[in-house]
Protein backbone atom coordinates (compact mmCIF):
# COMPACT_ATOMS: atom_id res chain seq x y z
CA UNK A 1 0.00 0.00 0.00
CA UNK A 2 1.20 3.49 -0.84
CA UNK A 3 0.12 5.58 2.12
CA UNK A 4 -2.02 4.02 4.78
CA UNK A 5 -3.23 5.47 8.07
CA UNK A 6 -4.65 3.12 10.65
CA UNK A 7 -6.98 4.27 13.43
CA UNK A 8 -5.39 7.71 13.47
CA UNK A 9 -6.44 10.00 16.31
CA UNK A 10 -5.39 13.50 17.28
CA UNK A 11 -6.66 15.07 20.45
CA UNK A 12 -6.30 18.75 21.36
CA UNK A 13 -7.23 18.91 25.03
CA UNK A 14 -10.86 17.83 25.09
CA UNK A 15 -11.28 18.10 21.32
CA UNK A 16 -10.91 15.11 19.03
CA UNK A 17 -9.76 16.89 15.87
CA UNK A 18 -9.15 13.56 14.09
CA UNK A 19 -10.94 10.58 15.51
CA UNK A 20 -10.03 6.98 14.70
CA UNK A 21 -9.63 7.47 10.96
CA UNK A 22 -8.47 4.58 8.78
CA UNK A 23 -7.72 5.55 5.21
CA UNK A 24 -5.55 4.57 2.26
CA UNK A 25 -4.23 6.83 -0.43
CA UNK A 26 -4.22 5.15 -3.82
CA UNK A 27 -1.09 5.59 -5.85
CA UNK A 28 -1.37 7.63 -9.05
CA UNK A 29 -4.85 8.90 -8.19
CA UNK A 30 -6.45 12.10 -6.97
CA UNK A 31 -7.62 11.30 -3.45
CA UNK A 32 -9.90 14.02 -2.13
CA UNK A 33 -10.79 14.84 1.46
CA UNK A 34 -13.85 16.96 2.04
CA UNK A 35 -15.89 18.00 5.04
CA UNK A 36 -17.33 21.06 6.77
CA UNK A 37 -15.07 23.72 8.33
CA UNK A 38 -13.34 22.44 11.44
CA UNK A 39 -13.86 18.80 10.42
CA UNK A 40 -10.19 18.04 10.96
CA UNK A 41 -8.95 17.99 7.35
CA UNK A 42 -5.94 20.25 7.85
CA UNK A 43 -5.11 18.43 11.07
CA UNK A 44 -5.16 15.19 9.09
CA UNK A 45 -2.60 16.66 6.67
CA UNK A 46 -0.49 17.89 9.57
CA UNK A 47 -0.43 14.35 10.91
CA UNK A 48 0.59 12.84 7.57
CA UNK A 49 3.25 15.46 6.87
CA UNK A 50 4.61 15.12 10.38
CA UNK A 51 3.98 18.58 11.82
CA UNK A 52 1.76 16.99 14.49
CA UNK A 53 2.37 13.78 16.41
CA UNK A 54 -0.76 11.62 16.50
CA UNK A 55 -2.32 10.82 19.86
CA UNK A 56 -2.71 7.24 18.65
CA UNK A 57 -2.73 5.26 15.42
CA UNK A 58 -0.10 4.56 12.79
CA UNK A 59 0.96 5.97 9.45
CA UNK A 60 2.79 3.80 6.91
CA UNK A 61 4.29 5.09 3.69
CA UNK A 62 5.44 2.58 1.06
CA UNK A 63 5.44 -0.16 3.66
CA UNK A 64 7.45 1.78 6.22
CA UNK A 65 6.09 2.93 9.57
CA UNK A 66 6.61 6.71 9.63
CA UNK A 67 4.43 7.52 12.64
CA UNK A 68 7.38 8.76 14.69
CA UNK A 69 9.42 10.23 11.83
CA UNK A 70 10.03 14.02 11.93
CA UNK A 71 8.44 16.14 9.19
CA UNK A 72 11.72 16.90 7.40
CA UNK A 73 12.54 13.18 7.13
CA UNK A 74 9.12 12.47 5.67
CA UNK A 75 9.76 15.12 3.04
CA UNK A 76 12.93 13.29 2.09
CA UNK A 77 10.93 10.08 1.68
CA UNK A 78 8.76 11.87 -0.88
CA UNK A 79 5.83 13.46 0.97
CA UNK A 80 5.33 17.11 -0.01
CA UNK A 81 2.55 19.51 0.87
CA UNK A 82 1.11 22.96 0.40
CA UNK A 83 -0.59 25.01 3.12
CA UNK A 84 -4.01 26.55 3.25
CA UNK A 85 -2.23 29.91 3.50
CA UNK A 86 0.76 29.78 1.19
CA UNK A 87 3.52 30.65 3.74
CA UNK A 88 5.65 32.05 0.90
CA UNK A 89 8.38 34.65 1.39
CA UNK A 90 6.41 37.50 -0.14
CA UNK A 91 9.26 40.01 -0.42
CA UNK A 92 11.49 37.66 -2.42
CA UNK A 93 11.31 36.72 -6.07
CA UNK A 94 9.49 33.63 -7.27
CA UNK A 95 12.71 31.85 -8.20
CA UNK A 96 14.32 32.66 -4.84
CA UNK A 97 11.29 31.14 -3.14
CA UNK A 98 11.40 27.97 -5.17
CA UNK A 99 15.15 27.27 -5.14
CA UNK A 100 15.05 26.19 -1.49
CA UNK A 101 12.56 23.46 -2.41
CA UNK A 102 15.35 21.24 -3.71
CA UNK A 103 17.63 21.84 -0.71
CA UNK A 104 16.68 18.49 0.83
CA UNK A 105 18.32 16.69 -2.09
CA UNK A 106 21.64 18.49 -1.48
CA UNK A 107 24.25 18.08 1.22
CA UNK A 108 26.55 21.11 1.15
CA UNK A 109 26.98 22.79 4.53
CA UNK A 110 28.14 26.04 6.09
CA UNK A 111 31.77 25.45 5.15
CA UNK A 112 30.92 24.59 1.56
CA UNK A 113 29.02 27.86 1.45
CA UNK A 114 31.86 29.98 2.82
CA UNK A 115 34.59 28.26 0.80
CA UNK A 116 32.38 28.01 -2.32
CA UNK A 117 33.43 24.41 -2.88
CA UNK A 118 32.83 22.49 -6.06
CA UNK A 119 30.05 20.57 -4.33
CA UNK A 120 28.31 23.81 -3.37
CA UNK A 121 28.52 25.22 -6.88
CA UNK A 122 27.20 22.00 -8.37
CA UNK A 123 24.32 21.73 -5.93
CA UNK A 124 23.40 25.40 -6.23
CA UNK A 125 23.21 24.92 -9.98
CA UNK A 126 21.07 21.80 -9.52
CA UNK A 127 18.65 23.71 -7.26
CA UNK A 128 18.34 26.53 -9.77
CA UNK A 129 17.72 24.12 -12.63
CA UNK A 130 15.15 22.25 -10.57
CA UNK A 131 13.41 25.53 -9.74
CA UNK A 132 13.21 26.51 -13.41
CA UNK A 133 11.96 23.05 -14.31
CA UNK A 134 9.08 23.10 -11.81
CA UNK A 135 8.24 26.72 -12.64
CA UNK A 136 7.88 25.67 -16.23
CA UNK A 137 5.69 22.75 -15.14
CA UNK A 138 3.31 25.05 -13.24
CA UNK A 139 3.41 27.66 -16.01
CA UNK A 140 5.25 30.44 -14.22
CA UNK A 141 8.46 30.72 -16.23
CA UNK A 142 7.46 34.26 -17.25
CA UNK A 143 7.27 35.56 -13.69
CA UNK A 144 10.33 33.81 -12.25
CA UNK A 145 12.03 37.09 -11.40
CA UNK A 146 9.00 38.90 -10.01
CA UNK A 147 8.44 39.60 -6.32
CA UNK A 148 5.84 37.18 -4.92
CA UNK A 149 3.90 39.98 -3.20
CA UNK A 150 3.12 41.45 -6.64
CA UNK A 151 1.56 38.24 -7.98
CA UNK A 152 -2.11 37.29 -8.14
CA UNK A 153 -3.52 34.86 -5.59
CA UNK A 154 -3.66 32.13 -8.21
CA UNK A 155 -0.05 32.67 -9.21
CA UNK A 156 0.97 32.45 -5.56
CA UNK A 157 -0.78 29.09 -5.32
CA UNK A 158 1.16 27.93 -8.35
CA UNK A 159 4.39 29.04 -6.68
CA UNK A 160 3.43 26.95 -3.64
CA UNK A 161 2.81 23.98 -5.97
CA UNK A 162 6.19 24.54 -7.60
CA UNK A 163 7.88 24.62 -4.21
CA UNK A 164 6.30 21.30 -3.26
CA UNK A 165 7.25 19.79 -6.62
CA UNK A 166 10.86 20.94 -6.27
CA UNK A 167 11.31 18.44 -3.42
CA UNK A 168 10.97 15.58 -5.95
CA UNK A 169 7.95 14.13 -4.16
CA UNK A 170 5.88 11.04 -4.83
CA UNK A 171 2.89 12.15 -2.80
CA UNK A 172 1.66 15.74 -2.78
CA UNK A 173 -0.82 16.95 -0.18
CA UNK A 174 -2.74 20.04 -1.34
CA UNK A 175 -4.67 21.96 1.34
CA UNK A 176 -7.48 23.97 -0.27
CA UNK A 177 -5.52 25.16 -3.31
CA UNK A 178 -8.56 26.83 -4.87
CA UNK A 179 -9.55 28.88 -1.80
CA UNK A 180 -9.74 32.56 -2.68
CA UNK A 181 -9.40 31.90 -6.40
CA UNK A 182 -11.99 32.93 -8.98
CA UNK A 183 -13.81 30.27 -11.05
CA UNK A 184 -11.86 30.72 -14.31
CA UNK A 185 -8.57 30.37 -12.51
CA UNK A 186 -9.84 27.37 -10.58
CA UNK A 187 -10.09 25.52 -13.87
CA UNK A 188 -6.44 26.27 -14.52
CA UNK A 189 -5.51 24.76 -11.15
CA UNK A 190 -7.65 21.70 -11.89
CA UNK A 191 -5.71 21.15 -15.10
CA UNK A 192 -2.45 21.53 -13.23
CA UNK A 193 -3.44 18.92 -10.64
CA UNK A 194 -4.52 16.50 -13.35
CA UNK A 195 -1.21 17.12 -15.11
CA UNK A 196 0.66 16.30 -11.91
CA UNK A 197 -1.07 12.95 -11.65
CA UNK A 198 -0.48 12.21 -15.32
CA UNK A 199 3.19 12.91 -14.65
CA UNK A 200 3.22 10.03 -12.17
CA UNK A 201 2.47 11.79 -8.88
CA UNK A 202 -0.10 10.85 -6.31
CA UNK A 203 -2.27 13.69 -5.04
CA UNK A 204 -4.23 14.06 -1.85
CA UNK A 205 -6.49 17.07 -2.09
CA UNK A 206 -8.52 19.00 0.46
CA UNK A 207 -11.02 21.28 -1.23
CA UNK A 208 -14.28 23.06 -0.55
CA UNK A 209 -15.17 23.70 -4.16
CA UNK A 210 -17.44 20.75 -4.92
CA UNK A 211 -17.50 21.32 -8.66
CA UNK A 212 -13.75 20.85 -8.69
CA UNK A 213 -13.83 17.77 -6.47
CA UNK A 214 -16.61 16.08 -8.43
CA UNK A 215 -14.78 16.74 -11.68
CA UNK A 216 -11.24 15.59 -10.90
CA UNK A 217 -11.29 13.39 -7.80
CA UNK A 218 -10.95 9.64 -8.26
CA UNK A 219 -11.94 8.89 -4.71
CA UNK A 220 -13.33 10.98 -1.87
CA UNK A 221 -13.18 10.64 1.90
CA UNK A 222 -15.59 12.72 3.96
CA UNK A 223 -14.66 13.92 7.44
CA UNK A 224 -17.07 15.36 9.98
CA UNK A 225 -16.11 16.27 13.54
CA UNK A 226 -12.88 14.38 13.04
CA UNK A 227 -14.56 11.16 11.99
CA UNK A 228 -14.70 9.49 8.60
CA UNK A 229 -18.37 9.40 7.69
CA UNK A 230 -18.14 8.28 4.08
CA UNK A 231 -15.74 7.16 1.41
CA UNK A 232 -16.10 6.31 -2.27
CA UNK A 233 -16.30 7.59 -5.80
CA UNK A 234 -17.69 11.10 -6.43
CA UNK A 235 -20.93 9.44 -7.57
CA UNK A 236 -21.30 7.46 -4.34
CA UNK A 237 -20.43 10.38 -2.08
CA UNK A 238 -22.78 12.74 -3.88
CA UNK A 239 -25.73 10.51 -3.11
CA UNK A 240 -24.70 9.62 0.42
CA UNK A 241 -27.36 10.71 2.91
CA UNK A 242 -24.90 11.10 5.82
CA UNK A 243 -22.76 13.47 3.78
CA UNK A 244 -25.69 15.67 2.87
CA UNK A 245 -26.77 15.74 6.51
CA UNK A 246 -23.25 16.68 7.64
CA UNK A 247 -23.15 19.64 5.29
CA UNK A 248 -26.67 20.78 6.07
CA UNK A 249 -26.12 20.46 9.81
CA UNK A 250 -22.66 22.02 9.79
CA UNK A 251 -21.55 25.45 8.72
CA UNK A 252 -22.54 26.66 5.26
CA UNK A 253 -20.33 25.53 2.42
CA UNK A 254 -19.88 27.03 -1.01
Amino acid sequence: MFLHVERLTKRFGGLLAVNDVTFSVEQGKINAIIGPNGAGKSTFFNLISGLYRPTSGTITFKGRDITRLPANERAKLGIARTFQTTHLFEQATVIDNVIIGHRLRTSSNLFDAILRTKRHRREEQACKEKAMEVLEFVGLTGVADRIVANLSQEQKKRVAFALALATDPELVLLDEPAAGINPDETEGLEELIVKMVKGGLTVCLIEHKMSMIMKIADRIMVLNYGEKIAEGTPEEVRNNEAVIQAYLGGSAIA
Binding site: S49, K76, H87, F89, I100, S108, L110, A113, I114
Partner: protein, 345 residues
Protein backbone atom coordinates in the same frame (compact mmCIF):
# COMPACT_ATOMS: atom_id res chain seq x y z
CA UNK B 1 24.95 41.14 -14.47
CA UNK B 2 24.82 44.95 -14.41
CA UNK B 3 23.66 44.86 -10.81
CA UNK B 4 26.66 42.80 -9.83
CA UNK B 5 29.04 45.15 -11.60
CA UNK B 6 27.52 48.13 -9.82
CA UNK B 7 27.74 46.38 -6.47
CA UNK B 8 31.41 45.56 -7.12
CA UNK B 9 32.09 49.19 -7.90
CA UNK B 10 30.43 50.35 -4.68
CA UNK B 11 32.37 47.80 -2.68
CA UNK B 12 35.63 48.93 -4.28
CA UNK B 13 34.90 52.57 -3.44
CA UNK B 14 34.03 51.69 0.16
CA UNK B 15 37.13 49.53 0.54
CA UNK B 16 39.30 52.31 -0.85
CA UNK B 17 37.76 54.81 1.56
CA UNK B 18 38.24 52.48 4.52
CA UNK B 19 41.87 51.85 3.54
CA UNK B 20 42.58 55.56 3.04
CA UNK B 21 40.77 56.71 6.18
CA UNK B 22 43.86 56.93 8.47
CA UNK B 23 45.63 58.98 5.79
CA UNK B 24 42.69 61.31 5.19
CA UNK B 25 41.74 61.79 8.82
CA UNK B 26 44.77 62.47 10.95
CA UNK B 27 42.78 63.35 14.05
CA UNK B 28 43.58 60.54 16.50
CA UNK B 29 40.20 60.77 18.15
CA UNK B 30 38.29 60.01 14.95
CA UNK B 31 40.63 57.15 14.17
CA UNK B 32 39.91 55.72 17.60
CA UNK B 33 36.14 56.15 17.12
CA UNK B 34 36.24 54.46 13.74
CA UNK B 35 38.28 51.54 15.07
CA UNK B 36 35.81 51.01 17.91
CA UNK B 37 32.88 51.19 15.54
CA UNK B 38 34.49 48.35 13.53
CA UNK B 39 34.33 46.25 16.70
CA UNK B 40 30.64 47.06 17.16
CA UNK B 41 29.99 46.24 13.51
CA UNK B 42 31.50 42.77 13.89
CA UNK B 43 29.35 42.13 16.96
CA UNK B 44 26.26 43.41 15.15
CA UNK B 45 26.98 41.14 12.17
CA UNK B 46 26.83 38.26 14.63
CA UNK B 47 23.46 39.41 15.88
CA UNK B 48 22.30 40.05 12.33
CA UNK B 49 23.09 36.52 11.18
CA UNK B 50 20.77 35.01 13.73
CA UNK B 51 18.13 37.71 14.27
CA UNK B 52 18.15 39.11 10.75
CA UNK B 53 18.61 36.03 8.60
CA UNK B 54 17.37 33.19 10.78
CA UNK B 55 14.57 35.04 12.54
CA UNK B 56 15.43 34.57 16.21
CA UNK B 57 16.17 37.55 18.41
CA UNK B 58 18.98 36.65 20.80
CA UNK B 59 19.37 39.02 23.72
CA UNK B 60 22.35 37.13 25.14
CA UNK B 61 24.82 38.50 22.62
CA UNK B 62 26.19 41.27 24.85
CA UNK B 63 26.92 38.45 27.28
CA UNK B 64 28.81 36.46 24.63
CA UNK B 65 30.67 39.64 23.67
CA UNK B 66 31.75 39.98 27.30
CA UNK B 67 32.74 36.32 27.65
CA UNK B 68 34.97 36.69 24.59
CA UNK B 69 36.54 39.83 26.03
CA UNK B 70 37.04 38.51 29.56
CA UNK B 71 38.37 35.15 28.42
CA UNK B 72 41.04 36.90 26.39
CA UNK B 73 41.88 39.10 29.39
CA UNK B 74 42.05 36.23 31.87
CA UNK B 75 44.06 33.96 29.57
CA UNK B 76 46.66 36.60 28.72
CA UNK B 77 46.97 38.35 32.09
CA UNK B 78 46.33 35.62 34.64
CA UNK B 79 47.41 32.50 32.78
CA UNK B 80 50.15 34.09 30.69
CA UNK B 81 48.96 32.41 27.50
CA UNK B 82 50.54 33.89 24.33
CA UNK B 83 48.26 36.51 22.80
CA UNK B 84 47.06 34.85 19.61
CA UNK B 85 46.59 31.47 21.27
CA UNK B 86 44.51 33.20 23.94
CA UNK B 87 42.64 35.05 21.20
CA UNK B 88 41.65 31.88 19.36
CA UNK B 89 40.84 30.10 22.64
CA UNK B 90 38.62 32.98 23.77
CA UNK B 91 36.57 32.78 20.58
CA UNK B 92 36.34 29.00 20.66
CA UNK B 93 35.43 28.82 24.34
CA UNK B 94 32.69 31.43 23.93
CA UNK B 95 31.40 29.61 20.88
CA UNK B 96 31.27 26.38 22.85
CA UNK B 97 29.29 28.08 25.62
CA UNK B 98 27.07 29.52 22.90
CA UNK B 99 26.46 26.03 21.50
CA UNK B 100 25.41 24.75 24.93
CA UNK B 101 23.10 27.73 25.47
CA UNK B 102 21.70 27.24 21.95
CA UNK B 103 20.93 23.57 22.53
CA UNK B 104 18.58 24.55 25.34
CA UNK B 105 17.39 27.97 24.18
CA UNK B 106 16.42 26.77 20.69
CA UNK B 107 13.76 24.54 22.16
CA UNK B 108 11.82 27.74 22.67
CA UNK B 109 10.35 29.95 19.97
CA UNK B 110 9.76 33.61 19.20
CA UNK B 111 9.38 35.83 22.27
CA UNK B 112 10.10 32.91 24.59
CA UNK B 113 13.47 32.61 22.93
CA UNK B 114 14.07 36.34 23.37
CA UNK B 115 13.11 36.18 27.06
CA UNK B 116 15.19 33.07 27.65
CA UNK B 117 18.29 34.61 26.08
CA UNK B 118 17.67 37.86 27.95
CA UNK B 119 17.91 35.83 31.16
CA UNK B 120 21.07 34.08 29.96
CA UNK B 121 22.59 37.46 29.15
CA UNK B 122 21.73 38.79 32.58
CA UNK B 123 23.18 35.72 34.30
CA UNK B 124 26.43 36.22 32.38
CA UNK B 125 26.47 39.83 33.57
CA UNK B 126 25.90 38.76 37.17
CA UNK B 127 28.66 36.13 37.05
CA UNK B 128 31.15 38.68 35.70
CA UNK B 129 30.05 41.27 38.21
CA UNK B 130 30.13 39.01 41.27
CA UNK B 131 33.05 36.69 40.54
CA UNK B 132 35.64 39.12 41.88
CA UNK B 133 38.47 36.62 42.05
CA UNK B 134 38.35 35.87 38.34
CA UNK B 135 37.06 39.04 36.70
CA UNK B 136 37.96 41.80 39.11
CA UNK B 137 34.25 42.46 39.59
CA UNK B 138 33.18 46.09 39.60
CA UNK B 139 36.78 47.28 39.90
CA UNK B 140 37.33 46.02 36.40
CA UNK B 141 40.07 44.10 34.71
CA UNK B 142 43.22 45.92 33.62
CA UNK B 143 46.50 45.30 31.86
CA UNK B 144 45.32 43.34 28.82
CA UNK B 145 48.08 43.37 26.20
CA UNK B 146 47.63 44.80 22.72
CA UNK B 147 47.68 42.22 19.89
CA UNK B 148 51.11 40.56 19.70
CA UNK B 149 53.26 40.98 16.60
CA UNK B 150 52.78 38.50 13.79
CA UNK B 151 56.19 38.18 12.13
CA UNK B 152 57.05 41.63 10.81
CA UNK B 153 53.53 42.98 11.54
CA UNK B 154 53.27 45.02 14.71
CA UNK B 155 49.98 46.29 16.15
CA UNK B 156 51.25 48.77 18.71
CA UNK B 157 50.22 51.99 16.95
CA UNK B 158 46.61 53.19 16.55
CA UNK B 159 46.93 53.12 12.77
CA UNK B 160 48.12 49.50 12.80
CA UNK B 161 45.26 48.56 15.11
CA UNK B 162 42.84 50.29 12.78
CA UNK B 163 44.03 48.12 9.90
CA UNK B 164 43.94 44.98 12.02
CA UNK B 165 40.30 45.61 12.90
CA UNK B 166 39.49 46.55 9.34
CA UNK B 167 40.93 43.18 8.33
CA UNK B 168 38.69 41.30 10.76
CA UNK B 169 35.64 43.33 9.75
CA UNK B 170 36.33 42.65 6.07
CA UNK B 171 36.69 38.94 6.81
CA UNK B 172 33.35 38.88 8.65
CA UNK B 173 31.61 40.80 5.87
CA UNK B 174 33.12 38.45 3.31
CA UNK B 175 31.89 35.37 5.17
CA UNK B 176 28.44 36.91 5.62
CA UNK B 177 28.29 37.79 1.94
CA UNK B 178 29.18 34.26 0.87
CA UNK B 179 26.77 32.80 3.37
CA UNK B 180 23.77 34.93 2.49
CA UNK B 181 24.08 34.08 -1.20
CA UNK B 182 24.45 30.35 -0.66
CA UNK B 183 22.20 27.34 -0.17
CA UNK B 184 22.94 27.51 3.55
CA UNK B 185 21.96 31.19 3.71
CA UNK B 186 18.80 30.42 1.77
CA UNK B 187 18.07 27.68 4.27
CA UNK B 188 18.32 30.15 7.17
CA UNK B 189 16.09 32.62 5.36
CA UNK B 190 13.55 29.86 4.71
CA UNK B 191 13.49 29.12 8.45
CA UNK B 192 13.00 32.81 9.21
CA UNK B 193 10.16 32.94 6.70
CA UNK B 194 8.24 29.92 8.01
CA UNK B 195 9.59 27.15 10.13
CA UNK B 196 6.64 24.91 9.28
CA UNK B 197 7.17 25.33 5.57
CA UNK B 198 10.91 24.75 5.96
CA UNK B 199 10.27 21.53 7.86
CA UNK B 200 7.91 20.20 5.24
CA UNK B 201 10.50 21.05 2.59
CA UNK B 202 12.80 18.59 4.29
CA UNK B 203 14.98 21.10 6.16
CA UNK B 204 16.22 20.13 9.59
CA UNK B 205 15.33 23.37 11.32
CA UNK B 206 16.97 22.50 14.65
CA UNK B 207 20.34 21.64 13.09
CA UNK B 208 20.37 24.74 10.93
CA UNK B 209 19.27 27.08 13.69
CA UNK B 210 21.99 25.72 15.94
CA UNK B 211 24.67 26.15 13.27
CA UNK B 212 23.54 29.70 12.57
CA UNK B 213 23.41 30.53 16.29
CA UNK B 214 26.89 29.12 16.90
CA UNK B 215 28.42 31.10 14.03
CA UNK B 216 26.58 34.18 15.21
CA UNK B 217 28.02 33.75 18.72
CA UNK B 218 31.46 33.22 17.17
CA UNK B 219 31.33 36.59 15.37
CA UNK B 220 30.22 38.37 18.51
CA UNK B 221 32.89 36.69 20.66
CA UNK B 222 35.47 37.72 18.08
CA UNK B 223 34.30 41.31 18.51
CA UNK B 224 34.60 40.88 22.28
CA UNK B 225 38.16 39.57 22.11
CA UNK B 226 39.11 42.42 19.78
CA UNK B 227 37.51 44.90 22.15
CA UNK B 228 39.55 43.59 25.07
CA UNK B 229 42.83 43.93 23.20
CA UNK B 230 41.95 47.35 21.85
CA UNK B 231 40.51 49.03 24.97
CA UNK B 232 42.70 46.92 27.29
CA UNK B 233 40.40 47.53 30.21
CA UNK B 234 37.19 45.63 30.97
CA UNK B 235 34.28 46.30 33.31
CA UNK B 236 31.18 44.19 33.84
CA UNK B 237 29.05 46.82 32.12
CA UNK B 238 30.10 45.45 28.69
CA UNK B 239 27.79 42.51 29.44
CA UNK B 240 24.96 44.77 30.53
CA UNK B 241 21.61 45.17 28.82
CA UNK B 242 22.54 48.64 27.62
CA UNK B 243 25.23 47.15 25.36
CA UNK B 244 22.66 44.71 24.00
CA UNK B 245 20.40 47.68 23.40
CA UNK B 246 23.20 49.46 21.50
CA UNK B 247 23.73 46.40 19.26
CA UNK B 248 20.03 46.24 18.52
CA UNK B 249 19.84 49.96 17.80
CA UNK B 250 22.70 49.75 15.30
CA UNK B 251 21.07 46.76 13.62
CA UNK B 252 17.57 48.19 13.47
CA UNK B 253 18.66 51.63 12.24
CA UNK B 254 20.92 50.11 9.59
CA UNK B 255 18.51 47.41 8.51
CA UNK B 256 17.97 44.00 10.06
CA UNK B 257 18.52 41.13 7.65
CA UNK B 258 20.61 43.19 5.21
CA UNK B 259 24.31 42.93 4.47
CA UNK B 260 24.99 46.66 4.71
CA UNK B 261 22.80 47.23 7.77
CA UNK B 262 25.38 46.71 10.55
CA UNK B 263 27.88 49.08 8.89
CA UNK B 264 25.34 51.78 8.06
CA UNK B 265 23.56 51.64 11.42
CA UNK B 266 26.70 51.57 13.55
CA UNK B 267 28.32 54.46 11.70
CA UNK B 268 25.21 56.58 11.76
CA UNK B 269 24.24 56.01 15.37
CA UNK B 270 27.75 56.35 16.80
CA UNK B 271 28.27 59.51 14.77
CA UNK B 272 24.94 61.00 15.84
CA UNK B 273 25.44 60.16 19.47
CA UNK B 274 28.84 61.88 19.27
CA UNK B 275 27.13 64.98 17.94
CA UNK B 276 24.56 64.84 20.71
CA UNK B 277 27.13 64.27 23.44
CA UNK B 278 26.46 67.68 25.01
CA UNK B 279 23.05 66.34 26.00
CA UNK B 280 24.73 63.64 28.12
CA UNK B 281 22.23 61.08 29.39
CA UNK B 282 19.32 63.09 28.04
CA UNK B 283 20.37 61.76 24.64
CA UNK B 284 18.15 58.79 25.35
CA UNK B 285 15.19 61.16 25.50
CA UNK B 286 15.77 61.80 21.82
CA UNK B 287 17.05 58.37 20.84
CA UNK B 288 14.24 56.39 22.44
CA UNK B 289 11.37 58.10 20.61
CA UNK B 290 13.29 58.30 17.33
CA UNK B 291 14.02 54.58 17.47
CA UNK B 292 10.40 53.81 18.29
CA UNK B 293 9.18 55.88 15.36
CA UNK B 294 11.73 54.25 13.09
CA UNK B 295 10.60 50.75 14.02
CA UNK B 296 6.95 51.67 13.47
CA UNK B 297 7.33 53.51 10.19
CA UNK B 298 10.59 52.17 8.79
CA UNK B 299 10.95 48.64 10.15
CA UNK B 300 13.52 47.60 7.57
CA UNK B 301 16.06 50.25 8.52
CA UNK B 302 18.04 52.35 6.11
CA UNK B 303 19.58 49.57 4.02
CA UNK B 304 16.33 47.57 4.01
CA UNK B 305 14.31 50.63 3.03
CA UNK B 306 16.70 51.31 0.18
CA UNK B 307 16.43 47.74 -1.14
CA UNK B 308 12.64 47.93 -1.02
CA UNK B 309 12.64 51.30 -2.75
CA UNK B 310 14.73 49.85 -5.59
CA UNK B 311 12.46 46.80 -5.88
CA UNK B 312 9.37 49.03 -6.10
CA UNK B 313 10.99 51.16 -8.78
CA UNK B 314 11.90 48.03 -10.71
CA UNK B 315 8.30 46.79 -10.49
CA UNK B 316 6.93 50.15 -11.65
CA UNK B 317 9.30 50.13 -14.61
CA UNK B 318 8.26 46.58 -15.49
CA UNK B 319 4.56 47.46 -15.33
CA UNK B 320 5.13 50.47 -17.55
CA UNK B 321 7.03 48.37 -20.08
CA UNK B 322 4.22 45.83 -20.06
CA UNK B 323 1.61 48.54 -20.59
CA UNK B 324 3.61 50.01 -23.46
CA UNK B 325 3.89 46.60 -25.07
CA UNK B 326 0.15 46.00 -24.76
CA UNK B 327 -0.58 49.38 -26.34
CA UNK B 328 1.84 48.59 -29.16
CA UNK B 329 0.24 45.19 -29.72
CA UNK B 330 -3.21 46.75 -29.77
CA UNK B 331 -2.07 49.31 -32.28
CA UNK B 332 -0.51 46.57 -34.43
CA UNK B 333 -3.68 44.47 -34.37
CA UNK B 334 -5.78 47.50 -35.29
CA UNK B 335 -3.49 48.19 -38.20
CA UNK B 336 -3.69 44.55 -39.29
CA UNK B 337 -7.45 44.70 -39.22
CA UNK B 338 -7.68 47.92 -41.22
CA UNK B 339 -5.28 46.45 -43.78
CA UNK B 340 -7.56 43.43 -44.05
CA UNK B 341 -10.48 45.82 -44.44
CA UNK B 342 -8.73 47.49 -47.30
CA UNK B 343 -8.02 44.14 -48.98
CA UNK B 344 -11.54 42.88 -48.47
CA UNK B 345 -12.97 46.20 -49.63
Amino acid sequence: MAIFEKRRLWLAVLAALALAFPLLVTNGYYLHMMTISFIWMIAVYGLNLFAGYTGYLSLAHAGFFAIGAYTLGILTVKAGVPFWLAFVSACLLTTLIGALVGLVALRTKEHFFAIYTLCVGYIIYLVIDKWDGLTGGVRGFIGIPAPADIGPLSFQTPVAQYYLLLFFLAAVVFIMYRLVYSLTGRTYIAIRNSEELALTLGISTMKNKLASFVLSVFFTSLAGALYASFIRFLGPDIAYVSVMFDFLTYLLVGGIGTLAGPVVGTLLVTFLSQQLQFLQDYRMLIFGPVLTLLIIFYPHGIAGGFIRFKAKREEARRLKLEANRTVAELAASRQGRSERHVKEG
